[in-house]
Amino acid sequence: MLESESVVNTLLRDYLYDLVKEGKRLDGRTFDEIRPIEVKEGTFTKSEGEAWIKLGKTQVLVGVKFDVGEPFPDTPDKGVLVTNAELLPVASPTFEPGPPNEDAIEISRVVDRAIRSADAVDLNNLVIKEGELVYMIFLDMYVLDHDGNLDDALTIASLIALGRAKYPKVIYKGDGDVEVLDEKESLVLKDLPINFTFVKIGDALLLDPVLEEEMVAEASITIAINQEGKVCSIQKRHGYFTMEEIKKAVEIGRSKWTDVASVIRREI
């Protein structure tokens, strides 16, 4: 959201609010319409699973890499998933180089929480030797072009990249050492927890906001829905909502899940 008002900002705000009152949006979409999702063809990373997607003009690139290492002491029977998001300075004049800031950390935790709470990645399947050696999955999310709604774009790209990922089989040789085989195994995705981000402008809830909408909105929220229609995670961002607004947002998310899931499934 805008931290402070300038004349231009005020004009933009008034314009968008007026549009919404007329039931319209800047790019002609309906309030609950998601921008086109395009998956770019080609190989762009050295990862074991990747996806470069465009959600409207927002572009993100996600790569999944594998390593082997020790499990966490409290989950000796599970692989390790590490999530990281970088708001690259190429993506926006307001992004600066440096370690992940508050926004980048929040976004990566929101995507991470959706995936984990739906148990989407079968971490139990990723144990090489219980308590000693497991697979580690690094989910690295790169924001390349920021035109709003990074969370949903990164979630979609992450699910595709995870669904595409293949890791080498290994044989445990004892003493923390493995023999790496040529054979590859596909990562099992058990669920598709999809994030839906809404902003509030006046009385309206706008799904999949563009940057300008994010800038002037009073409030925003991200809701993850899984294949059973359960609410897996929520992150209210700035501003406030009524209970009714939140329930409505959940319902919209549930109604849109199949559309987005079919794009993801097609690309995996």
Binding site: S4, E102, I105, E106, K230, V231, C232, S233, K236, M243
Partner: protein
């Protein structure tokens, strides 16, 4: 490292809905609030909630440093959520981690809608939430404490922000999850509201819920928040006097 190993209880809740600390699903842990525990801060509060001990302090409105962060037309609001090294079973290394960076933001966004920021153009309001002892629910206790500290500092507000979590344990929706339920339960849902206007300023979920469970959790959290709000008002009315109550039926 091996000094503090935690074991999952055999079961988190009985068929009758009795929880590991003896509470029923709708019951909240004992809470004690003390306003004005610090001398130098402009406002302060200590919230003891179950085994949590949360100290909140507010400084401001005051001058912004560094200058370039200043907002010409309203107050800048900053919040820091920080866990003490001695707040957890195993000693915690000082300094922010990713979780505390996120919680700092979430807490700031929970409180900012309640502050008349336009009353303090160019100033900063600094909110510090210090977790001295953690026992599940530190962010809701932190928001509750910080809201008291803001009021104690005399910051103009639309109303108090009160907070409480709900959660899911097996098929039960429970109020104010405890440590076991936080660790091994199915879902956690911290929530904060401006009670006067019934607006939700903090809502997070971690763990799946059906739409029905979600609605039940919203109501459960709301009832907890209403109770916390009453305690807050009492604590502010008689500052330096303790407010404590163990409730069995909210």
């Amino acid at each position: 490292m091996p000094l503090y190993v935690e074991k999952k209880p055999e079961r988190l809740i009985t068929e009758e809905g009795v929880r590991t600390d003896g509470r029923l699903p709708h019951e909240i842990r004992p809470i004690r609030m003390t306003v004005g525990v610090l001398e130098r801060a402009d406002g302060s509060a200590l919230v003891e909630w179950g085994g949590n001990r949360i100290l909140a302090a507010v400084f401001g409105p005051r001058e912004v440093h560094p200058k370039h962060l200043m907002l010409p037309d309203k107050a800048l609001v900053r919040a820091r959520y920080n866990m003490a090294p001695f707040s957890t079973p195993e000693r915690r290394r000082p300094g922010p981690d990713r979780r505390s960076v996120e919680l700092s933001k979430v807490i700031r966004e929970a409180l900012k809608p309640a502050i008349f920021v336009e009353n303090y153009p160019g100033a900063v309001i600094d909110i510090f939430v210090e977790v001295l002892r953690s026992d599940a629910g530190t962010r809701v206790a932190g928001v509750t404490a910080a809201s008291l500290a803001l009021a104690h500092a005399g910051i103009a507000m639309r109303g108090l922000v009160a907070a409480c979590a709900a959660g899911r344990v097996g098929e039960f929706v429970v109020c104010d999850p405890n440590h076991d339920e936080d660790m091994w339960g199915e879902a956690d849902m911290p929530m904060a509201m401006m009670m006067e206007s019934r607006k939700i300023t903090l809502l997070q979920i971690d763990g799946p819920m059906t739409p029905e469970q979600f609605e039940e959790a919203l109501n459960m959290a709301k009832r907890g928040i209403e109770f916390v709000y009453e305690l807050q008002k009492e604590a502010l009315k008689r500052p330096y006097v303790l407010v404590e109550r163990r409730i069995r039926g909210v």
